[in-house]
């Protein structure tokens, strides 16, 4: 018998985001699979009533809330107090939360305070033979394991896109307010804002249907013996503008940027995909001027359909890592792709 706490924070508009609703669905499924279990919801935010109303029909026996201006934005020192208070108030044995950047940076600390354990980046939560378990990847998406634990409370951070979002009826929820007392020490860090590139220069789009990866080949000497970085920039930005794809990169290309070489100016470490970069989720991915070496392609684990353009027919994409490898010059092909997209 488990007491499952679905834990979520509100978005800036006071609602619950897609990832939170996916975690709610996973928590409900787990509660249904473990006989005698109880589902409780715990919400954190500046105000939680509208979020509570949004999930009023989710079947939670209680909806607990920590709400105050101090909890409106992501800050470790205050969030850890809120999470601890909610988990204690619920007497939770399992806590399921979406793997947002906000929860990723605080739930392990809360688990420590409660003498519990935590698994982050879970990709599935199951109940088999009356025992809860989860799947997650190790060694940067290179091997997958099923994990079970006897220690409680057990915190689980579920990755986005791993469950269908809960889509039940809204209503009017009665929120039990939970006290999360703060001291001045909890307010020493002040969140001053968010820094983002201008909208027209934002190249990372997590919700895009296509990931476009540019490798270091875009900055190398072309058949005329010269590098054409400016033209490469134009081609890539033109393509991103027309398709609204998300831009990824290899480590070698973003490292060149860091070393101050004349490369693609819009490329930063945030674009990096792979071992020391991100592992984005998109239905399709197109790699260009990139060899598809393992440290990069581990970041493609959750890209369903994969195509690549590379001059080398023996590159790693040809070794079972892509569905289609076009052996061609990406400069030429992408120029023509842009022309076709413009004519549409």
């Amino acid at each position: 018998m488990e007491t499952i706490l679905f834990l979520a924070h509100t978005e800036s508009d006071g609602s619950l985001g897609q990832a939170a609703l996916e975690s709610l669905a996973a928590a409900r499924t787990l509660a249904a699979g473990l006989t005698g279990s109880t589902l409780i919801a715990g919400l954190v935010g500046g105000s939680v009533q509208s979020a509570a109303d949004q999930i009023a029909g989710c079947g939670a026996t209680r909806i607990l809330g920590v709400a105050a201006a101090d909890f409106a934005s992501s800050r470790y020192s205050t969030d850890v107090v809120a999470v601890e208070a909610l988990a204690r108030a619920a007497a939770a044995t399992i806590v399921i939360a979406p793997a947002t950047s906000r929860w990723n940076r605080v739930l392990a600390g809360a688990a420590q305070r409660l003498d519990g354990r935590i698994d982050a980046h879970a990709t599935g939560i199951t109940a088999a033979d009356g025992k809860p378990g989860l799947t997650r990847w190790y060694y940067r998406q290179r091997m997958e394991a099923v994990v079970q634990r006897t220690r409680r409370p057990w915190f689980i951070l579920l990755e986005a896109g791993c469950a269908a979002a809960w889509n039940g009826p809204a209503g009017t929820a009665a929120v039990e307010s939970v006290a999360a007392p703060l001291t001045d020490a909890n307010r020493r860090t002040i969140v001053t804002g968010v820094q983002a590139p201008p909208t027209d220069q934002q190249t990372i789009r997590p919700d895009a249907k296509l990931l476009f990866v540019a490798g270091a080949g875009w900055t190398k000497a072309q058949p005329d013996g010269k590098a054409h970085s400016v033209e490469a920039e134009e081609i890539i930005l033109d393509f991103l503008g027309k398709t609204k794809a998300s831009l990824g990169s290899t480590k070698s290309l973003v490292d060149l940027s860091g070393e101050g070489q004349a490369v693609l100016k819009f490329m930063t470490h945030l674009n990096q995909v792979g071992q020391t970069g991100s592992t984005p989720r998109h239905p399709k991915g197109l790699a260009t001027c990139c060899h598809g070496e393992e440290p990069h392609t581990v970041g493609w684990r959750f890209i369903n359909e994969r195509r690549a353009i590379n001059l080398n027919p023996n590159c790693s994409w040809a070794q079972g890592k892509a569905d289609v490898l076009y052996v061609a010059d990406a400069f030429v092909v992408m120029r023509k792709v842009n022309a076709l997209l413009a004519a549409k």
């Binding site: 099923v146 968010v194 359909e305 890592k321």
Partner: protein, 270 residues
């Protein structure tokens, strides 16, 4: 606010990313096939944390950098031969497992104990650094628990930039969704930063720094305290490699016009 820092970097070793990894079952749980024979490197994000620490220490004379590392002694020694040539630090070695299937809470306990035992450590000048996630477990949980054990509540994860202001307070940029950064300022120490990539390139090897570091690295390795990680309460019913290997269609000699048409059609398909 202090003008010099005690910076403790937590960082371990990982198999070289170019190696093929295969899981095996051992009496103590899952592990990697030939784990002790695989070439190892410093965990990449922990490496960035170390380079940022050294950079910060250089800017603030009187600062000191420790690298607290848990791993099999022989592997640590091998990796330190290279790392020690990069930046100045004092190694605190803990002899224990460094694999991905070890329990982060137990690793955190060992790291926190080692940090608490550092002679002369001044908590009012303390910055704890590390990689925000390892390349083994990749959970991003260990540092938070180290911070909690040390009583540090000003914690930041996915850090790409830390800027010390003239008044000694500092500004931190943490990665959040959508390629953005959350900007925070903090006016007190101790604090903890789990670094992402940061902005610094890997420093070139400097044999002089290497010689200086090796004076403390070898004794630290000899003194390394053995730590047992029991993985209490956790079981792994299965560990497997992804089975999916794609049947790659290699398209040669297709005119660029046709390739472009095919790609545009593919992109447009639902």
């Amino acid at each position: 606010m202090p003008t010099s820092y005690h910076i403790v970097v937590c960082g371990s070793i990982v198999p070289d990313p170019l190696q093929t990894l295969e899981p095996v079952t051992t009496p103590t749980g899952p592990a990697l096939k030939n784990e002790l024979l695989l070439p190892a490197v410093l965990d990449p994000w922990a490496g960035h944390a170390l380079f940022e620490a050294a950079h910060l220490a250089k800017q603030h004379p009187g600062s000191k950098v420790w690298l607290v590392s848990i791993g099999p002694k022989a592997k640590l020694q091998q990796v330190m031969m290279t790392v020690a040539q990069k930046v100045p630090f004092e190694l605190i070695a803990i002899d224990g497992p460094a694999g991905g299937f070890t329990e982060s809470a137990e690793i955190a306990a060992a790291l926190a104990e080692a940090i608490q035992g550092l002679p002369g450590l001044d908590k009012s000048r303390l910055l704890v650094f590390g990689g925000w996630e390892s390349a083994t477990r990749g959970a991003g949980t260990t540092l938070q628990m180290v911070g909690e054990r040390l009583g540090i509540v000003d914690q930041f994860q996915g850090v790409d930039q830390l800027t010390v202001r003239p008044d000694g307070s500092f500004q931190v940029l943490e990665r959040i969704e959508g390629g953005r950064h959350q900007v925070s300022s903090c006016g007190a120490l101790p604090a903890l930063c789990g670094w992402a990539t940061g902005n610094l390139p890997e420093p070139p090897n400097n044999p002089q720094v290497g010689m200086l570091n090796m004076r403390t690295v070898m004794p630290a390795l000899q003194r390394a305290k053995p730590t047992k990680i029991s993985n209490e309460g956790v079981t792994f019913p299965s560990v497997s490699l992804p089975k999916q290997r794609r049947e790659t269609k290699i398209v040669k000699d297709m005119p660029p016009d046709d390739i472009a048409r095919e790609i545009v059609e593919w992109i447009g398909k639902e």
